[in-house]
């Protein structure tokens, strides 16, 4: 229903929304600013930092010299993309079965899967760590890909389930009447109709895996460490290096930020879990 909103109210609302948006964005902006400062400037008072210090790329150079950004970047890409696609392989048949041939306990299974996301990860850290140690998976990309796939699997299944649910059963029945086999039904009818949903599922899960820090920090050391570990290595016992830490953070979040920016539309759809048609 359209409601009449006075101009004054509109301006006030816009101002409030703008302020809240700016406050949320501010930490990232501040990191961006600090990353272009020297270490000495970075620990000065905020106003001095803003107005009476110079700009420099030194921190980025220092970070690049000290650690191999590209290796961490590739680890992040491998782990997040790998875990997402591995997850899809399991989730598509699972979601398909739950959406189109539901059993009595389907709803319970879905809730149970979601409930695993409510468990604090640290609760299973020790068993998983020990399993990893015994199977030689510590600090390997394969091990990490596998763990992140497991962590995000409930979300992938839930999202695909809600997308599949939106596809009217009659259309699939029509395909069956028209002579399509199960394989043809999936390829020619279900998949094309579910592609927007699958795309946003993939995007969201790549982001979640990219940003996942708990498992990546605890299960890797040097070889398989992704960008989250790369950032963490700059908050070290030798002291805090704000400028370098900021530069490292910017380098770590930039790829995912850019990807997120370009795929905003898909993501919003993904985050509403299929509620908006």
């Amino acid at each position: 229903m359209a409601r009449a909103v006075s101009n004054g109210k509109k301006i006030a609302n816009t101002a409030i929304a703008g302020t809240v948006g700016f406050l949320m964005f501010f930490p990232i902006l501040w990191i961006l600013i600090l990353s272009f400062k020297t270490e000495e400037d970075a620990i000065r008072a905020p106003l001095e930092i803003l107005f009476s210090s110079g700009w420099t790329m030194d921190s980025f150079a220092a970070v690049q010299a000290r650690s191999d950004y590209f290796k961490h970047f590739m680890n992040s890409v491998t782990i997040s993309v790998g875990s997402t696609f591995l997850g899809l392989l399991i989730a598509i048949p699972a979601a398909w079965a739950m959406a189109f041939v539901p059993a009595k306990r389907t709803k319970d299974v879905l809730m149970w899967m979601l409930s695993t996301k409510m468990l604090p990860p640290v609760g299973v850290l020790i068993p998983i760590y020990l399993i990893f140690r015994d199977f030689g998976l510590l600090d390997t990309r394969i091990g990490l890909t596998f763990v992140l796939m497991m962590i995000n699997l409930p979300i992938i299944i839930w999202m695909l389930y809600t997308y599949f649910k939106e596809i009217p059963g009659e259309i699939l029945e029509a395909a069956r009447m028209d002579g399509a086999s199960l394989r043809e039904e999936v390829i020619y009818v279900l998949t094309p109709m579910a592609i927007p949903g699958m795309a946003s599922t993939v995007l969201l899960n790549i982001i979640l895996a990219w940003n996942e820090a708990f498992w990546t920090l605890n299960l890797t050391a040097a070889k398989a460490a992704p960008l989250t570990a790369f950032i963490a290595s700059y908050s070290s016992p030798e002291g805090l290096f704000y400028a370098k830490l900021s530069a490292a953070s910017i380098m770590a979040i930039a790829p995912i930020l850019i990807m997120g920016w370009f795929s905003q539309k898909q993501l919003v759809r993904g985050l509403t879990f299929g509620a908006v048609k």
């Binding site: 009659e170 029945e173 029509a174 009447m177 086999s181």
Partner: protein, 334 residues
């Protein structure tokens, strides 16, 4: 050919038996309508024939061959769904081509049949559009087009018109009837609308709670309903049922008289009553009359020009040869 036989077909969902064992024969070229109130099992019965549901027991034969365990695609039937069930990501042309594509038909033959179907259904100008860009009536025609290009043994329609507005429904009703006359293919049509059933069917199957109440031509059902349910379901407005003393005079538990078989006069008739609501349709007037013993209100179909007002006293005379008599079990007597 499209002869469908159901032998002792039964369907249960878990412990709930929705269709007790039933027998039914649908002859080649016949237009058969399954009609009944919501939840009477008519759609389930159609889906059993289509193969979209498995029978719990019994045998379904299509053209004499056992089709009970055949998948839908192998039965040679085409179905038109209530929601049209078009493929939203495909153009109209591709939608119509889909069953032929699945059958690996040659491109030439496909194009030929698509053009013929599009012409017959007035879709030629819309072949490159997506279903989302079409009106409800056009979508329904695409769904029908998709069904006819396969040249099926029989067409199955599952309430195909219930999503259309009233005016369009009448038009599509005629189009489907005409299609049947032209193709002479068996059609099985499910609806809850008895007007659709009466106007389209060669044979009507009236269902209630999964049980066939009566099978017959539209006029047979109208003239000689087998029981109270069919009597009340077929015909619009509904048949009036009178119980008690009036019925006992005819030696029945209940008598039924259709609104169009009662004459209204100002005095001298058999029953006296008070006029309630009068619905003027122009051609006819449906008058609801209160105060008739054993039947309240009684509906009477009178001339369009009749002028009665709320509260008037009128006199009614049923045509004696049009009185239906039912016994204590609700079954027709003689």
């Amino acid at each position: 050919m499209g002869r469908i036989q159901l032998k002792q077909v039964q369907k249960a969902f878990g412990d709930v038996e929705v269709i007790p064992p039933l027998d039914l024969e649908i002859n080649d070229g016949e237009f058969v309508v399954f009609v009944g109130p919501s939840g009477c099992g008519k759609s389930t019965l159609l889906r059993l024939i289509a193969g979209l549901e498995d029978t719990t027991s019994g045998v379904i034969e299509i053209d004499g061959a056992d089709a009970t365990d055949l998948p839908p695609a192998k039965r040679g039937l085409a179905m038109v769904f209530q929601s049209y069930a078009l493929y939203p990501h495909m153009s109209v042309r591709k939608n119509i081509a889909f069953p032929m594509r699945m059958a690996k038909m040659s491109q030439e033959e496909q194009d030929k049949r698509i053009d013929a179907a599009a012409k017959a259904l007035n879709l030629t100008d819309y072949l490159d559009r997506r279903p989302g860009q079409l009106s409800g009536g056009q979508r329904q025609r695409v769904a029908i087009g998709r069904a006819i290009v396969r040249e099926p043994a029989a067409f199955l329609f599952d309430e195909p018109l219930s999503n259309l507005d009233a005016a369009l429904r009448v038009g599509m009703r005629m189009e489907i009837s005409e299609l049947h006359k032209k193709l002479e293919t068996t059609m099985v049509y499910v609806t809850h609308d008895q007007v659709e059933a009466m106007t389209m069917a060669d044979k009507i199957v009236v269902l209630q709670a999964g049980v066939i109440e009566q099978v017959g031509s539209p006029l047979e059902l109208y003239r000689t309903p087998r029981n109270l349910f069919v009597a009340g379901f077929i015909g619009s407005p509904k048949m009036n049922f009178i119980q008690g003393e009036e019925a006992a005079k005819h030696g029945a538990q209940t008598i039924g008289i259709r609104p169009e078989h009662i004459d209204v006069s100002m005095s001298g008739g058999q029953w006296q009553g008070t006029v309630g609501v009068a619905e003027h349709l122009g051609s006819d007037t449906f008058i609801h009359i209160h105060g008739i013993p054993g039947c309240d209100p009684m509906t009477v179909r009178a001339d369009g020009e009749v002028t009665v007002s709320y509260g008037d006293t009128v006199s009614l005379t049923p045509r004696s040869d049009q009185i239906h008599k039912f016994d204590a079990n609700g079954l027709r007597m003689s």
